[in-house]
Amino acid sequence: MLDRIAVAALRRDSHFLALAEARAKVGWTLAGAMIVLYFGFVFLVAFAPSVLATPVWGVITLGFPLGLLVIVSAVVLTAVYVSIANARFDPMQREILQRGFGTGEAGVRKLGDRQP
């Protein structure tokens, strides 16, 4: 079990709160974008199939490039999250772990020996 006092201190720590908030904001925004894109497509299929049947490239209809767009955006949004997390969240997290417990890695180790 993590040390209770350390947990309570971290829960009030401004850097920890900033990290948690930033991560939640990015995570839920991107999840929302994915849900809107996907269900936007599903709703077009369900309620406006004739829109998707418009030919756009030879016989190929609008539904195919739009579907491809959803596939590509799934990969792109995932890549966006990874790059934000690598560039921003990881350094913030390292900083909290080192600054908050002075002792660096050793402090971290002392703090976290819980096994579920």
Binding site: L30, A31, G63, I71
Partner: protein, 529 residues
């Protein structure tokens, strides 16, 4: 293109030879892995030593089942555009896993998703619930794979159905009992590489025939398909909007509740590597589904017009699932046919191995070590139980495969996704994000989600009419997730509102869980670095 149809070929020697090479290679890897598999962490999570990229390829290998390769290209072959909704649906669950689940899951769990769900709640009942719903998901997924395997191997290799079941079940028992997660991971990686290579080559050969012009391919497909322009617009799914949306919900959120998939996140060192795995997996799976489209349309043009592959009544010999396999022969001759057949067999093996390992973990880690022995079991006995569980699950899978031989199992993967979206996903999400979730809420919502998804599927046209032979379905839609998933969330909330004395402790424990999920402090594996 004039070769005789497969079904009358008898044994397909190229396929058997290539498949034997695959089996030999994977058995050598299993032997190597078995010397490295000693502790429980080795068995369930390959000691946490898989890299993010390796894990990403293995996830893709775990997820791209024979159903998605043969099934989606068959769907495109039969109805064109409608197949797109499935392939997109199977993909969009991955970003959701990335944004909301992967990192926290890695930081909180050890071997199974039940670790995460029961982290701060009353362990025994919550773990039982999570283990049971995981086993339900695994059982339906496994039956679908086993029956598919038997039918496919019968056609491709000319082997009797029962032999096919025994070969698949036997090999999977060997991989998992001896090599645990390490062997399973490498089987999945090799299979993913073979499948992606084979599908890429097929798509390339199809496009080559049309001067790399997609409009030319599509125009030809429209000209030869009996529904003509109809294959370029939504059809069946547009006629039943509620089913289309409900299917979308099941696919998008069910992926985040699949136990064998979530288990893979414990094989990497930390949350950063978990992220990398999801990116690799999403990219590869997305690419793969684009290929299945080219393959499906290629099959419309090259397979449906060839009397070697279709009956005079224009039905595909051996069933619609054979579209991609016949296309391999049409564009690449017997050698490519053998290669794709061997890959299809390898695909089934890799997926059933992952499923069995997840099932064994639910039995030995969740039910035996944590619920029955209440944490007093030794690690050695836990690993021993998981090996027995693997053998038992393997035998059960063979028997179920034989029992369901003549049944229509098309609904089973859908049912697995619906249960995963309606029980596992709400539990995983709420336990990580909602401080207010209590044991009572989790139990109420989880059991209601599980039973509703199950009962509504039984009452749906897919089972009530097509399998049980009643005249009218009691529940009119094909997928229950649109109703069962919100119901699960609602009852999790309601149950959590009914206060009890221990709730304060559970909310306080959320703080510790929250700090760990955000920072990785105390996460399994962190000490080793």
């Amino acid at each position: 293109m004039t070769s005789a149809p497969l079904a009358h070929h008898g044994a397909n020697w190229t396929a058997i030879l290539l498949f034997s090479a695959f089996v030999l290679l994977t058995l050598l890897i299993t032997g190597w892995a078995s010397r490295r598999t000693r502790s429980a962490a080795d068995f369930y999570a390959a000691g946490g030593g898989i890299s993010g990229a390796q894990n990403g390829v293995a996830i893709a290998g775990d997820f791209m089942s024979a159903a998605s390769f043969l099934g989606i290209s068959a769907l495109v072959y039969a109805s064109g555009f409608d197949g797109l909704l499935y392939s997109i649906g199977f993909l969009v669950g991955w970003p959701i896993i990335m944004f909301l689940i992967a990192e926290r899951l890695r930081n909180l769990g050890r071997y199974t998703l039940s670790d995460v769900v029961s982290y701060r709640l009353a362990e025994t009942p919550v773990r039982c619930l999570a283990a049971v719903s995981s086993l339900v998901v695994i059982a339906f997924y496994l039956i679908a794979q086993m029956v598919g395997a038997g039918q496919l191997i019968q056609l491709l290799f000319g082997l009797p159905y029962i032999y096919a079941e025994i070969i698949v079940g036997g090999l999977m028992i060997l991989y998992v009992t001896l090599g645990g997660m390490l062997a399973t991971t490498w089987v999945q990686i090799i299979k993913a590489v073979l499948l992606l290579a084979g599908a890429t080559w097929m798509a390339f050969l199809v496009l080559y025939q049309f001067g790399f012009s997609l409009p030319a391919l599509f125009a030809r497909a429209v000209a030869v398909h009996p529904r003509h322009l109809g294959i370029l617009r939504p059809a069946a799914l547009a006629k039943d909007p509620v089913s289309a949306i409900s299917l979308g919900v099941a696919l998008m959120f069910g992926t985040g509740g699949l136990p064998h998939i979530l288990m893979r996140f414990f094989t990497v060192r930390d949350a950063r590597e978990a992220r990398k795995s999801v990116l690799w997996a999403t990219g590869l799976i997305g690419y793969f589904y684009v290929l299945t489209f080219i393959i499906g349309f290629g099959a419309i043009v090259l397979v449906s017009t060839d009397s070697a592959y279709v009956t005079p009544a224009h039905l595909l010999r051996g069933g619609n699932n054979m579209a991609a396999v016949f296309l391999a022969q049409a564009v690449g001759g017997d050698w490519l046919l053998g290669f794709i057949s061997a890959v299809a067999f390898a695909t089934i093996l890799a997926v059933v191995s992952g499923l069995t390992l997840a099932g064994a973990a639910a039995v030995s880690h969740d039910l035996y070590a944590r619920v029955i022995a209440r944490g007093r079991s030794t690690e050695a006995s836990e690993v021993r139980v998981s090996r027995y569980a693997t053998v038992a699950l393997g035998i059960v899978a063979i028997l179920l495969g034989i029992l369901f031989e003549k049944q229509n199992v098309a609904y089973m993967v859908g049912l697995a996704f619906a249960v995963a979206a309606s029980a596992n996903f709400p539990l995983v999400l709420l336990s990580m994000y909602w401080r207010g979730l209590t044991t009572r809420g989790a139990l109420l919502g989880g059991w209601i989600g599980l039973t509703t998804a199950f009962v509504l599927t039984v009452l749906s046209p897919g089972i009530w009419v097509k399998v049980l032979g009643h005249a009218h379905a009691i529940f009119p839609y094909d997928s229950p997730a649109l109703f069962s998933m919100p119901l699960a969330f609602l009852f999790c909330w309601l149950g959590s509102r009914l206060r009890s004395a221990r709730d304060a402790g559970e909310a306080a424990a959320f703080d510790e869980q929250y700090v760990r999920s955000q920072t990785g402090l105390g996460a399994t594996g962190a000490e080793a670095h």
